[in-house]
Point group: C2
């Protein structure tokens, strides 16, 4: 089985975006504020948006199951306050849940959280609990910068994040560390902010000792770990300067990288540098980079091709990257699959 | 000849840091403000600080000439105002100039600029002119984020930067895009802020069309280009989404990457992905990562070893990376060398 640990609902029916726009207008002008019941998306519309897009490509490319979360760039935690984020997260998570019910063999949910800049992260716990207990979600997306490119929250090692981590440990779910839209003109959302956030998170975790407090906590760093694998010597060296244990001990018991790296040399580096047990197959399809690479004739984000082509993985390794590691890092996914005899 | 295009004066005598500390105290308490003449560093002290450190390592490792600029993390443009930055830049540049006079065969200067958050970049021009005309400097370091991790300046493609670019074109000097200390707790200076800035700069240049306005402008992106080469497929794909020309056309006539990537797989990726004409040898020695890699027994930042070991470069390629490209990208360096028959 091939599990893609990183898919977002980027193709939701337009009604979702329209509702969101009214919600945002409602911040300034409360008369515009939409009701929850104003959002009407039928099962048929959901089905169509998935069948014509993600599911079609999964079939074409040969992946089986996607861990599916709300569109990352639309989380936009910087907009409004906790109430706004809370309503928005509930809507987006519910849509992913409905997709997972409509296509139970192909999608399983991961939650966005109702984060808001300057608001205590523990306010996210009720939504997290609902998504795990009622929706059967198997992970969360945690935004290390809810300000959207101004980086006003403390590092991930700060104790203010601990209530989230305690809940993650209790439910045995990992978090993918994933920012949202940048509202800082310096940072292109998918070309700079996403990648910078991955790099930043890795370095925050190297600087701190978070996994001493939470030995079973697990993070997935998307987009191939940002710059970290490419600069792995720098990170090993900085850990040494900071008098930390080797990264194998200090980081890699708890931190995993996905394979959203959109060319062969990148995947070759990732699979050469990072131990195979720490790499999880992912494509972030349909996401940031939708085109066809003129150098290969295939989609940039058809990452399965790079995994298949790399010389660095044995067939046993490939099976870990494509299935085994995801089952280990997302135990609730493994349990859900086993319950169905998969 | 082996030219290292990226060295900072990280080993300046302590008197420099002491003077800076008084200068910073003087911002709050003007009675503490030091005079320029309070800073006394003899030629012997300069000589010793270089001979025992950078020059010793250059001899050991076999590099000949370093393009030498003030310590990047000490630029700290976020401290004080333009007057503070101006005085500090003048002092730091003069020390590099003195080093270049004491060791003319081994060091040639690149200038830090007296940038200050919110201050018009054109205020930097007198210092830039002095460094080129009086000190014979061959390049500058341009900080895309003088706020030190808050990213309050506009992108590098903004017209407010143009006066600097006009002067660079006039003098035919390149800029290395190099941030300074992070004063944002989210960003470790050398582990996150430096690498993020490199990635951010590349994406800003992809988003914009700066080189249409300045066809001969040249930037060196340090630290192996941040995350860009590792994610080169992403960047090629995003350029395509943005309807830009191929990166070879859109970026690589004007943008160059140094080799400050501290392990073999990183250099192998860089030299596989980026055309050889766009790669400049550098070590940033003595810099962020000073230890010995237990996996190799050699210093992490002994990047010459990786360049020698990579299978991706012919001996002609190596000569471009180590010398030819630097002479092309820094024409004033080439002229200075030729004037000495080198």
């Amino acid at each position: 089985m091939i599990i893609d640990c990183h898919g977002h609902y980027t193709t939701a029916p337009n009604a979702l975006e329209e509702w969101r726009n009214y919600q945002i207008e409602g911040i300034r002008d409360p008369s515009k504020k939409p009701k929850l019941s104003d959002l009407k998306i039928s099962d048929d519309e959901l089905r169509e948006s998935i069948e014509a897009n993600q599911l079609r490509l999964m079939r074409e490319r040969g992946s089986d199951l996607t861990i599916f979360s709300p569109r990352a760039s639309f989380m936009a935690h910087h907009i409004g306050d906790f109430a706004i984020s809370s309503e928005w997260a509930a809507i987006c998570n519910e849509l992913c849940y409905r997709v997972s019910k409509l296509f139970p063999d192909h999608f399983i949910g991961a939650a966005m959280l109702p984060q808001s800049p300057g608001v205590d992260p523990k306010t996210c716990i009720p939504e997290l609990e609902k998504c795990v207990k009622e929706y059967g979600f198997v992970g969360i997306n945690l935004n290390p910068d809810p300000s959207g490119g101004h980086w006003t929250s403390p590092p991930l090692t700060d104790r203010s994040w601990y209530p989230i981590y305690e809940k993650m440990v209790e439910y045995d779910i990992p978090a993918m560390i994933h920012v949202s839209t940048s509202c800082n003109a310096c940072f292109h959302t998918t070309g700079a902010h996403y990648i910078n956030a991955d790099t930043t998170a890795v370095m925050q975790l190297i600087e701190g000792d978070l996994f001493k407090d939470f030995p079973t906590l697990r993070f997935v760093i998307p987009h191939g770990g940002g710059a970290a694998p490419y600069h792995w010597g720098r990170y090993r060296g900085l850990a040494q300067v900071l008098k930390k244990p080797l990264l194998l001990e200090h980081l890699l018991k708890n931190v995993f990288f996905d394979t959203c790296v959109y060319h062969q040399p990148g995947i070759d580096l990732l699979t050469r540098v990072i131990p195979v047990d720490n790499i999880l197959f992912a494509s972030e399809m349909i996401g940031a980079v939708r085109g066809i690479d003129p150098e290969t004739g295939f989609n940039y984000d058809d990452t399965k091709r790079y995994i298949e082509a790399t010389q660095n993985l044995s067939s046993e390794d490939r099976s870990k990257v494509c299935e085994g590691n995801a089952r280990r890092v997302y135990p609730r996914l493994d349990a859900a699959l086993k319950a169905k005899g998969r």
